[in-house]
Symmetry: C2
Subunit: 388 residues, 2 copies
């Protein structure tokens, strides 16, 4: 392992009807609250009413709403939120939604305390020194944003999608009631599953030595997901399946797997470039790109890919080389994702080779990206071409 | 899963020479510090000097020492520490040592803010509403106290050993440098390994449904420990082995495995009774008692014992009943612990049947103990007799 510091201040409040905890939790941070949510599905499901009832029970509550946060949340929406907080002297943010809504709320939280353009924070030019406290009510299992400081924001003017992370933007609390994910449709449920598995991959394929516990924890999340996901896809309102996937998604990116290792994240950088240029679902992009990334790195480093297959897919190793095992593992990942209905090629989204160079350029946030096998421009182009 | 709340505010500072972080971390809580340690092994190893150098670098530092904390820390020592803090208006506690030193520091931290007898807190008659902030520098991988709110204290006048836990007694930070465990002798290293594995068992054998991730996380800790421990026992100053066992012990009881499940802890209650009456090492007691507890519960519930064996010891299941598999699992646990030099019977410590009734009585903190299979007095007596 490398040396590391790990702390995660988020309080998870997990289980049936745990939305009842919101009032007491939120009231600790103030009564002037910005409520952030998306396109209105929480109004249809009734969650909006439940949350409002909780917030209105806070003495002298003053609630300002920011609705309409987009699936890939936009810088312009973040700026709108910052303005609302400043104009109304709000003290606390409650984000009710999936990853996009929560990520948007985090950027707002950090931006309010920053004098310059919040895009500086998103792009890493400035680091937040503090943030408005925020809580979340999660409605989709996918990104893990409910228990980390990460936020992904898209700047449409510049066709750029970037991520930042800060200790100040960890939620103070996150309410995880699996029932609140019942209404997530099948395709979004699949994207969430692909996303959480991809998060494990990004940390599992690290460039450090001697981290067996972190790797086995990652395998635990993958194995449990592979067991439960196909059943969930056929039974979207099953509480037991929803709760396992929800907890899995949280632990896939609450940074336990990152302890003491140099993680990779190249595939996410490539996917962010693809979806910034073409606005495709993040989970869909990952399902297409990750097997191609694995094929690329397995050419020089098949060991960890083979280990994944042996431990997670229980591959029979008899008479097989590391290369055989790596190839079999990648085949199993592809088959699993196809079996639950994930896309397999960029052409499924109508993407062809025309904007490859722009996507390559947007991917390269440094001279190389990733750690397990650092990728240069040509490597990224190869992965993208193989994904068409 | 059952509904749950999970938060763990402790900052882990892990790796080689991370003691250099103490000054800045401790200074956040004040400059009037109680330094708590044990029998002086930290003076021999040089760690005392390193820590003092850090603390003295805090501007206007005032350091009061409480040394000589016993292996099973005593109520009288806790009271001495409370008095030292009150007399000197100290603001922060730094505990440098293993589980006993840190547990003692936690009881002191909670006791200072409590008007009555601190034994009320240890026995659960009163709950701490706050505590003096504390940090730790861990010198032995075993109890996991470095990342939880637990404390075990012995009252020798009453031959009683009891545990409490509070959110207020989580360390603010814990410095984990595997090098600081190099001097832990072989027998203590073995006890630590037994202790951490037992912590996993206590949470793995829970009485709840649908917690596959928590179970696989537990299996991950067990499998990694079983792989590394025999190598460590032969090579006590190996950094790689020490670091894996250190992180494993922390995660075995930072309550991740406890999320959403009713844990057992009967074996710990019985062991606390045994070591309160006979002052034997906690890890030694657990190594003797746990296989007998497993044998007892497998009579009515062999499933989880069998699952443990299949997943952790890779048992071949062909043609075997659940009872066969459970028996084989227990045999493997016994063999593993014997192979690293753990004791196998209470008679190894010269304990015979004479004080069985006192131990049974001390074990029964309720009408029954444990959740996986609730045990009554007769059950506990059976387990103790089988352990002689």
């Amino acid at each position: 392992m490398d040396q590391f510091q790990y702390v995660n201040p988020t309080k998870l409040i997990f289980g049936k009807n745990q939305t009842a905890a919101i009032k007491d939790e939120a009231a600790q941070y103030g009564n002037k609250i910005l409520l952030v949510y998306g396109g209105g599905s929480i109004k249809k499901s009734g969650l909006y009413d439940t949350v409002m009832e909780q917030l209105k029970a806070i003495p002298d509550a003053e609630i300002v709403e920011l609705s309409g946060v987009e699936p890939n949340p936009r810088l312009s929406t973040v700026n709108k939120g910052i303005q609302l907080i400043r104009e109304n002297n709000l003290e606390f943010i409650l984000a009710v939604g999936g990853g996009s809504v929560i990520d948007c709320a985090k950027a707002i939280a950090a931006g309010v305390h920053y004098d310059g353009d919040v895009w500086d924070i998103v792009t890493g030019k400035a680091a937040p020194a503090s943030a408005v406290p925020l809580g979340t009510v999660l409605t989709m299992a996918a990104t893990g944003t409910e228990m980390n400081g990460n936020s992904v924001i898209t700047n449409w003017e510049e066709k750029d999608k970037r991520a930042f992370s800060s200790i100040h933007t960890y939620p103070k609390f996150s309410v995880l009631d699996p029932q609140n994910t019942y209404t997530v449709p099948k395709d979004q449920t699949v994207y969430g599953i692909v996303d959480l598995m991809s998060h494990v991959f990004e940390q599992y394929f690290h460039a450090s030595e001697n981290a067996p516990l972190q790797e086995r924890f990652g395998e635990s999340i993958l194995k449990t997901t592979i067991d439960v996901a196909p059943k969930l896809i056929k039974d979207l309102e099953n509480y037991d399946y929803r709760e396992v996937i929800m907890l899995n998604a949280t632990f896939a990116l609450n940074k336990v797997l990152t302890m003491g290792v140099k993680t990779d994240w190249a595939t996410h950088m490539i996917e962010h470039a693809v979806s910034a240029v073409h606005d495709i679902p993040h989970g869909g992009g990952l399902a297409i790109l990750f097997p191609r990334w694995m094929e690329f790195v397995a050419q020089t480093k098949p060991e960890k890919v083979a280990q994944l297959g042996i431990r997670v897919f229980d591959l029979n190793t008899e008479g097989k080389s590391l290369n055989d095992l790596a190839a079999e593992t990648i085949q199993r990942v592809k088959e699993f994702w196809a079996s639950i209905g994930a896309p397999e090629n960029l052409s499924d989204y109508g993407i062809d080779s025309r904007e490859i160079e722009l996507m390559v350029e947007r991917s390269m946030v440094g001279d190389t990206i990733g750690s397990y096998v650092p990728l240069n421009k040509d490597d990224v182009r190869t992965i993208l071409v193989n994904s068409l």
